[in-house]
């Protein structure tokens, strides 16, 4: 039945021919019969036709009986629409372009959001997965013994553990590089349902505590990049932090772990912690971090991933887990002396959070920015849609005679609405398809904007059904919503009106107000684009304000090389010599003024924090006097351009034999030493105060631009030469760019076993802490301009159209002696009225919506008068320019032509 329907649909031409033949046969037979009655040929045929009732109606009705009529009509409408598009190239191009821009921008932003927020992990039944988190601030890590106890409590569920993806030094064939690895329990892969595409994945037998197995599974990405997908990779040896491991398999294609935006290249058993010197992200309580971590309950370093069938009641599961967790905590309490800490520990609760979309810090970091961007592109689409509706209305009004004529000869209104809708849907579809193509590379471009050259954001961007669905949804809504209003308006029977004017559209002063709809739309467009521009202005200034924040160090002429000597497996005794070699090699580069090294460094995102006790300072009960620590090489303050406000810098006499000294920052000085001078005072670890303050340095934004400055102490590496250094800095007087490659080369020579993570200016490194703001700033500028451009086009189109309709009137005015400049003024006045209304509305919008953007701004109010007034002036100017061309055209109308003008 359905097949036959399609058959009828596609064999339309044959069906038409057959029908024709059949009907002709009937009429011919009838004619023959009349002739047989003795009527002459011509009369017989006339009677036959009369009796039959005309060929055409019969044909029409038979076509209806075919049941494929509406599809045929739609195709016919589409063909008709495409034909009219060809004759109105400008109109069509404008509409499609606006839509492509609008839908493309939306789909692009949505695609990034989808990749980051909505896209489920590509594992078996991701909806069954969950993380166990503890409610204590910031810590959602557990010890290995705690994991084992929790796992045996909640039987219907199964559990596995993992560390966060960690940087490790990978050495293959003597080439060292820093990449990401993750320690996991042996059942992790089977819990996720991830298989090996070559070799095998880790199994529970691999994480034996007694004999840690040095086996690793590599990712598809790393297999491709490092081994060219060769089978020989299986069984080969890879050095992880200088420990030899055997590659036993490659994980399934596309799998890169469960941490979105932080793909891992290697997975190895948690029991390898000690062997690979894993030392990341742990909180320690009554435990020895230098011994293997797996058996110790005092070291919380693992995230717990669980899986339970959806039928399992999550609340019961949680209750069971929480009950067990109570016991674990109570067992630990004996080891905690600090009463404050004891109460805090007791308040700890367990939470279950959805893990179907994986874990992501990037998500949390970028969500507000993406929300702002999604709103902005939504507004751009709105402006674009208003354009579509406007153009359809304007063009449709010009076609009102055709429509009226069709209504008068019997077309049903529904049929006309359907045809007009088909037209707008056709436009929207073409725009939507173009938009999806735009989104394809738009999203990549977007990601490039978030990423800097040195830090790409590695989210996979599948153009999956969600994005296509989103695009389709946007397209259909656009086509329907913004096509329906014009269609309904235009198909309203005004036959007399349109036909009476004899095909001549005589517009007079009062009647050109017949387009209130169009004017309202243009006003809204102007208002929304002003909102977009003000937003863009605010975000741009926010970013500028952030970048201009005084960081306390020199950002322009300092280059930093980042690496990690801990991961290189170099013996601590050899470190000092290594540092000397690196510093000397770097100092030899021409143009380098001074060099230094440090353990943490500003704006790296790393930190080392310890509790201290301070001479003559009693902390309030709920404060733990924790400070950030930094070990620095010689000339650190000079090289980074950090000013000392009191005391002295370290010198070569501050060595291992001398008393221990420290330079502290202003925040630490103020917080712990108050108004008195800290120089000569002491602080220390435990209950000692054997570090002497010798100087105070200005506050440096070590945690990035937006974060407050923590108390910080600098120590000389000379007194602690076995600390692991992670940064080397050089200061140059000349251009920085050529130095970056040279420095990388020099370090390779000086320290061949140390992989260099990156070499960049301190400025670039610092700006990373505001990458979300940079994204919003750049994109909102782009979207703001797109919005204004589209709105301008709408304004231009509307004014031009209004001028075209008033050609008669203008011609008459000119004929009666109006000066061209008066005509120009008249048109510009109309433009200005629309723009003025729009700007007023836009300012209203800014005030109504400003507070939603407040948290995203820095250093200015969402109602910043300068931005609002500046952008308003800009919009008025742009609006006047859009109106100028039609105004000029109007003033050049020749009266004789105009009076005869026929639209």
């Amino acid at each position: 039945m359905i097949l036959r329907w399609f058959g009828r649909l596609f064999s339309r031409r044959r069906l038409e021919r057959d029908l024709d033949k059949e009907l002709r046969f009937h009429v011919d037979s009838l004619t023959q019969d009349f002739k047989a009655e003795g009527i002459n040929e011509i009369e017989a045929r006339r009677r036959a036709l009369a009796e039959f009732g005309g060929m055409e109606p019969a044909r029409e009705n038979t076509r209806d009986a075919r049941g494929t009529r509406w599809v045929e009509d739609t195709f016919q409408d589409i063909r008709y629409a495409l034909r009219t598009f060809r004759t109105h190239k400008g109109f069509t191009a404008a509409a499609i372009l606006s839509l492509a821009v609008g839908i493309g921008a939306n789909a692009a932003v949505f695609r990034v959001i989808d990749g980051l927020i909505f896209h489920p992990l590509e594992v078996n039944r991701p909806q069954e997965l969950f993380f166990i988190e503890s409610s204590s601030a910031g810590s959602s890590r557990f010890s290995h013994p705690a994991y084992l106890q929790l796992a045996e409590t909640a039987k219907p569920a199964s559990f596995a553990v993992m560390t966060s993806p960690t940087t490790m030094q990978f050495t293959v064939n003597g080439v060292a590089e820093l990449r990401t690895a993750q320690l996991i329990s042996g059942n992790w892969f089977s819990l996720l349902g991830i298989d090996a595409q070559a070799g095998r994945v880790l199994s529970p037998s691999d994480d034996s505590v007694q004999t840690p197995q040095p086996v690793v599974v590599i990712s598809d990405r790393y297999w491709t990049r490092q081994y060219g997908r060769a089978q020989s990779a299986i069984g080969s040896t890879i050095l992880l932090n200088n420990t030899a491991c055997t590659v036993i398999g490659v994980a399934a294609d596309g799998f890169s772990g469960v941490t979105v935006g932080l793909p891992s290249d290697v997975w190895l058993p948690v029991t390898m912690q000690q062997a690979v010197h894993h030392n990341g992200n742990a909180s320690t309580e009554n435990a020895d971090g230098s011994k293997p971590w797996v058996p110790q309950d005092g070291i919380s370093w693992l995230a717990i991933l669980g899986r339970a069938p959806e039928s399992v009641d999550r609340n019961a599961l949680l209750a069971a887990l929480d009950g067990r967790y109570r016991q674990i905590i109570e067992a630990r309490l004996d080891g905690i002396q600090d009463p404050n800490r004891r109460t805090r520990r007791l308040q700890d609760r367990i939470r279950i959070t959805d893990a179907s979309r994986g874990m992501s810090f990037l998500r949390r970091q970028l969500s507000p920015a993406l929300t702002v961007l999604m709103t902005m592109v939504g507004l751009v689409l709105l402006v674009a849609c208003a354009n579509l509706a406007n153009l359809l209305l304007a063009r449709g009004t010009a076609r009102s005679r055709e429509l009226a004529l069709r209504l008068s000869i019997g077309a049903r209104r529904g049929r006309l609405v359907r045809q007009l809708l088909t037209e707008s849907m056709t436009l929207a579809t073409i725009g939507g398809i173009a938009g999806l193509f735009a989104a394809w590379w738009g999203a990549q471009a977007l990601l490039r904007l978030v990423s800097t050259t040195s830090t790409p954001v590695p989210i996979t961007l599948p153009l999956d059904w969600r994005v296509v669905l989103f695009g389709l949804g946007a397209t259909l809504t656009t086509g329907l919503l913004f096509g329906l209003v014009p269609a309904l308006r235009l198909s309203r029977p005004q036959i007399q009106d349109s036909l009476k004017s004899g095909g001549r559209v005589v517009e007079t002063g009062s009647r050109h107000n017949r387009l209130p709809m169009v004017k309202v739309l243009v006003t809204v467009q102007v208002a929304v684009s002003l909102l977009l521009l003000v937003g863009a202005g605010l975000f741009f200034q926010t970013f500028q304000n952030l970048v201009r924040i005084e960081t306390g160090f020199d950002r322009e002429s300092v280059i930093t090389a980042r690496f990690d000597t801990r991961l290189s497996g170099i013996a601590q005794a050899d470190l000092s010599a290594l540092y000397t070699r690196m510093l000397e090699e770097a100092a030899r580069i021409p143009g380098v003024q001074s060099t230094t090294i440090s353990t943490v460094g500003p704006a790296t995102g790393a930190a080392r924090i310890s509790g201290v006790s301070i001479d003559r300072y009693t902390p309030p009960p709920d404060e733990d006097t924790a400070i950030h620590e930094e070990f620095v090489g010689p000339a650190y303050f000079k090289t980074l351009g950090i000013r000392l406000v009191a005391g002295r810098d370290f010198n070569e006499r501050d060595d291992e034999r001398a008393p221990q000294v420290a330079v502290i920052n202003e925040t630490m000085a103020k917080r712990y030493f108050g108004e008195t001078s800290p120089i000569g005072r002491g602080f220390g670890y435990g209950n000692t105060t054997d570090f002497q303050v010798i100087g105070v340095a200005v506050d440096v934004r070590v945690n990035g631009l937006r974060s407050d400055v923590p108390p910080l102490a600098y120590y000389p590496l000379r007194q602690k030469p076995a600390e692991y250094v992670r940064n080397l800095y050089v200061r140059t007087s000349g251009p920085v760019e050529p130095l970056i490659a040279t420095l990388r080369q020099s370090l390779k020579v000086a320290a061949p076993g140390v992989a260099i993570r990156e070499v960049l200016t301190l400025g670039d490194l610092t700006e990373r802490s505001v990458s979300a703001e940079r994204l919003v700033s750049r994109l909102s500028a782009v979207f703001g301009m797109l919005g204004v451009a589209v709105a301008c086009f709408g304004l231009y189109g509307t004014i031009s159209y209004s001028v075209a309709r008033r050609t008669n009137e203008i011609g008459v005015r000119l004929a009666l002696g109006a000066s061209p400049s008066a005509v120009r003024r008249m048109v510009l006045r109309e433009t200005l009225l629309l723009v003025g209304l729009g700007v007023a509305g836009g300012i209203g919008l800014v005030f109504a919506l400003g507070r939603f953007a407040e948290t995203q701004l820095y250093g200015l109010s969402p109602h910043d008068p300068l931005t609002i007034s500046g952008m308003s002036v800009a919009v008025v100017l742009i609006g006047l320019i859009s109106g100028a061309l039609p105004a000029w055209k109007a003033s050049r109308v020749s009266p004789t032509v105009a009076v005869r003008h026929d639209v």
Partner: protein, 113 residues
């Protein structure tokens, strides 16, 4: 553009019944069907010629009729319709329906007497 056509259901249904009945014995082309209906009803029923072909095509699309091109006695090509098995079953239903309907109408008319 279509000119709206309104036919009563009764009329349409009746035409379907007449067509199906006419084709019980042999395949016929459209013109012959119209002739046959007129003859059989002794010209009491005139098939509205404009509705004949839509009805034929509709019945064909429903699968009650099948059609093929064949030569007439005069040697011209014409589209011959024949009853399908489904159409035959439908005819029985239609006849039963019609009997019920006319019986009902008959009863009402007699009561009114």
């Amino acid at each position: 553009m279509t000119i709206p056509t309104s036919k009563s259901d009764l009329l349409q249904g009746t035409l379907d019944l007449l067509i199906l009945k006419t084709l019980v014995n042999e395949p016929l082309h459209g013109y012959a069907i119209a002739q046959r209906i007129a003859q059989s009803s002794r010209a009491l029923l005139q098939v509205p010629q404009g509705s004949l072909y839509p009805a034929l095509h509709r019945l064909e699309n429903r699968g009650w009729l099948a059609a093929e091109w064949d030569r007439t006695e005069t040697g011209r090509e014409a589209k011959f319709y024949r009853l399908t098995r489904k159409g035959r079953k439908e005819l029985e239903n239609e006849i039963a329906d019609w009997r019920r309907l006319s019986e009902g109408i008959q009863l009402i008319l007699e009561e009114a007497k």
